[in-house]
Structure formats: C-alpha cells, structure tokens
Amino acid sequence: MRPIAVSFALAAVASWLVGAVSPWLPRGGLPDPALLFAIALGLHLPGVRGAIAAWAVGWQADLLSGSPLGLFSFTCLVAWVAARLGERQLALARPVALVPFTAALTIAQAALLVLLDLGPAADDPRTLPVLVVHVLANAIAVSFVSRLVGATASGADAAEAQRSGLRFDAGAPLR
C-alpha cells in the first residue's frame, strides 16, 4: 500500500503545484502530472499495485480537472500498460527512449480528446502551439518524475518489484 499512497500523495502535490503556477505560464507550458506519474509507475511499479496506483493517480486528475470523470483514470491506466509493455521492448529506462515515448503518449492523449470532442479543437490553429509546448513540458519533466517514482518504489516489496507485471503470453510451461 505504501508505494500507492506515496505515489498518490506525490501526484497530488505535483497537481497542486501545476494548478498554482499555471496562471503565470503559457497554456500547456506545465507538464501533466497524472500522465507522467502513470508512465513512471509503469517503469518502476509493476503488478497489481502499479495498476491501482496509476488508476488512482488518474482519478485524482479527473477530480482536479473539468474533464468528464473517468477520462484521465482510463488514459493513465492505458499509459501504465503502454509503459509496462514498452519497458523491455523499448528499453524505456534510457532517457533517449523515454522522452519520445512520453511525447508520443501526450500526443495520443490529445488525439483521444479531439476524437471525444473534448478540449482541444483539431481545426483551431492555436491548438498546435499549446500541444507542442505541452509535449515539450512533459518530455522535459518525465525523467525527473521517473527518478522520483523510482526512488519511492525502491522501498517496495522486493518480490513484487521483481515479478513481471504483465504476462499476456501463455507460452511458458506451467510445470
């Protein structure tokens, strides 16, 4: 429970900071704490605890945003799964892989909002600059958040931390 609670508390503080600083910065100029924490949790906290933590962080973003409830909890869960799947295949521990991965997820999230007709308007020329700034902000902040969550999760149960979080393949023999 400790990593979940600590992640939730850290994400809450990050969200509060973003909410407090946002009036003084250009739109989109601050990172999306929920998305970054979900990605970082995917890298550092596998298993049931990681999934629940990412989902809880998403719920928190739902509460602090004008989005329909459930939207960010869903996208954070998807981001966590993507990070788990990409952790080994893309070697996301390296910043050179993590940064573009985060940028891609940020764009995918914005695309989902456009598809749902929420928030950004695809035909508005002002959407693109906001998206670009937001992608940059997320890309810059993701390594820091990842290290923060990594340090938090290092105290987690070793057995749980070593277990592979997602095993969709059933190829390994059972006995």
Binding site: P23, R27, V48, G58, L69, A110, R126
Partner: protein, 321 residues
C-alpha cells in the same frame, strides 16, 4: 467405481494447481480490464450527463468531488498563507500614502456621484433605472475558488459551494468584473464551474454600442472568440460585449469582454472578432454564483427533477427571458 474415483482424485491436484497458476498469471490483466471498465462506465455516464446538461453528480463522483474541496484547501493553505502574509506586510508599508490617496479619491467620487444623481433625477430616468436594477438583481452566493484545472485542455474551477448552499448546475457564475462561466456540476458542498474560456462554452452576446449580435465562444486559450451573425455589423476594436439574454442561460447585460481585434471576413459566413475577457481568469479567487437559472436550462433541468426553489432562484421579471 474405485478406478474412476482414483482417477478423479489424482486429477484434482493438477487442476487446482493449473487454476491457481492461471489466476496468478491473469491477475493483473483481469484487474486492468476491471479498472478500465469501471473508468469507461463512469466516463460514459458522465458524458451522457454533460450532453443533456443535467449533471448533478451521482453518488460516487459526488463523494469524489466532495473530497476534492478539503484536499485542495489543505494543499493550497501554505501558499495562501505565504501570499496573504506577504501581501499584508507589503500593504502595511504603503498604508499611510494609500489612506491619503483614497481619502482624496473618495471626495472626488462623492462629488462625481452627486453630479450623476442630479443629472439622472433631472432627466427623469432615476426611477426607471431603479426598477431595472430590481429586475436584474438575483440572489448571489459568494464562493471561493479552491482548485484550478490541471489539464491544459479544460478550463474549469472547483468552488467551495454546492447543492447544500442552493447552487445548482446551470447557474451563472460572475465577479464584479463580468461573467466567469456556468456551474456544470455540484455535490452537497462543492461545485465545478466551466469557464467562458473552455472550448465547450458558448454564450449568446451583443455589442453594447451597436447591438450587433453573435456568439462568444471559448477556444481553450486566454482570449474569447466573438462570431457575429451579419457580416456588415458594426463591430470595432474597443467595443464592449455583453450577454444578450437570448440564449436563456445568462441574464442580459453582464459584461463578457472587450473587442481587441476584428478579423477580416474573408470567405466565412460569420465574421469573427477576438475579445479580451472582462474577468482576469488567471487571478480568480472570490466569485459569486447567481442563484438564478435561465428559462432554457430551467426547462431542461425541471425535466430531471432538479428545479431550484422558486423564491430563491427565479426573481421577478427574470432577466434575460
């Protein structure tokens, strides 16, 4: 029979082991499916509510919003204390000069006020203005902004007044400067207001000077877009845009913003102007919820059994209707 029993007995352990192993392997995927389904169910129900604009929150989302207010208040307390403490200290430094300046200003304003009163009495309009003022008055509930939107794609604020204070979805939110937005969700002690800047916001409006009519839309940025219906309409930079009351959502005459740019019409059917909002959305702290709901929204909400108490929420000569 003994042979069959023997076979069954020997099969039990591997089957149990198999099942346990399978559950162990599928534990996380099953949890993911469960959590994702739960999120999508809440998202779908919330979207439906938004679509029909009748979204007093259900039990679970209501509890979550209720919890957000004390959490946000607690989180913002240190910054608030530092800000007010610093503000008071700085204010003390200038208090003497401010007092002198304000006394002079009060004297000026009293004189000015007297002149205006005289002029109004002379023209016989004072009574009419007093009547109009009565017509436009609706009970106001002060509220504190406790949370800003953390997503760059949505523009909303969380306030510390909810259904328990008479606040209902569809009620306008204002400050002394002008329109802030609309209450879109409430729980017993908290509410969420969508700002005019939100991409989903649209207000029927008119130019105060020329009475040119159009729609003010948010586009997610810090400016508003004013699309007016007739291409030849007289809209100039510096014009003040107010609510028209035609949409049946906001009372007539509330200030929305000032025209800062009129875009050339080009090929478009509607001409467009850019507005600077009257309200400084970056510095929202204290707002007022008008305990009044326009006829359009009232009709919608009454269908969902959410009629506000008439005495409070529908003053005589409802503005904007």
């Amino acid at each position: 029979m003994p042979f069959r029993a023997g076979v069954a007995k020997s099969d039990v352990a591997p089957a149990e082991f198999l099942m346990r192993e399978l559950l162990e392997r599928l534990r996380v995927p099953l949890l993911l499916v469960l959590l994702a389904t739960l999120s999508l169910i809440v998202l779908a129900s919330d979207r439906r509510a938004m679509a029909r604009r009748a979204d007093e929150r259900g039990l679970l989302p209501g509890i979550l919003i209720e919890l957000a207010v004390p959490v946000q208040k607690a989180l913002s307390l240190p910054a608030e204390l530092a800000r007010t403490g610093w503000g008071r200290y700085v204010a003390l430094l200038d208090v003497r000069s401010d007092n002198e300046r304000l006394r002079a200003r009060i004297a000026e304003l009293q004189e000015e006020n007297l002149q205006y009163r005289e002029a109004l009495v002379e023209s016989g309009r004072l009574q009419r203005i007093a009547e109009m003022r009565t017509d436009f008055e609706a009970p106001m509930r002060p509220a504190q902004v406790v949370g800003q939107d953390v997503s760059p794609w949505f523009r909303s604020v969380l306030v510390d007044r909810g259904a328990g204070d008479g606040v209902r979805s569809g009620m306008p939110v204002v400050t002394e400067a002008g329109v802030v937005g609309l209450v879109t969700a409430t729980s017993p002690h908290a509410g969420r207001a969508m700002l005019l800047l939100d991409a989903q916001s649209a207000v029927d409006a008119l130019v105060q000077r020329s009475r040119a009519r159009g729609i003010v839309r948010g586009d997610g940025t810090d400016r508003l877009s004013f699309e007016f219906f007739v291409r030849g309409d007289d809209v100039q930079v510096g014009d003040i845009v107010i609510t028209s009351g035609f949409g049946g959502v906001y009372p007539k005459g509330l200030r929305i913003g000032e025209v800062v740019e009129v875009e050339p019409p080009g090929e478009r059917l509607l001409q467009r102007a850019v507005l600077r909002p009257a309200v400084d959305f970056g510095r929202l702290e204290q707002i007022f919820v008008m305990l009044w709901r326009g006829p359009t929204l009232d009709l919608l909400y009454e269908g969902f059994g959410d009629a506000p108490e008439r005495a409070d929420a529908q003053p005589q000569g409802a503005p904007g209707s």
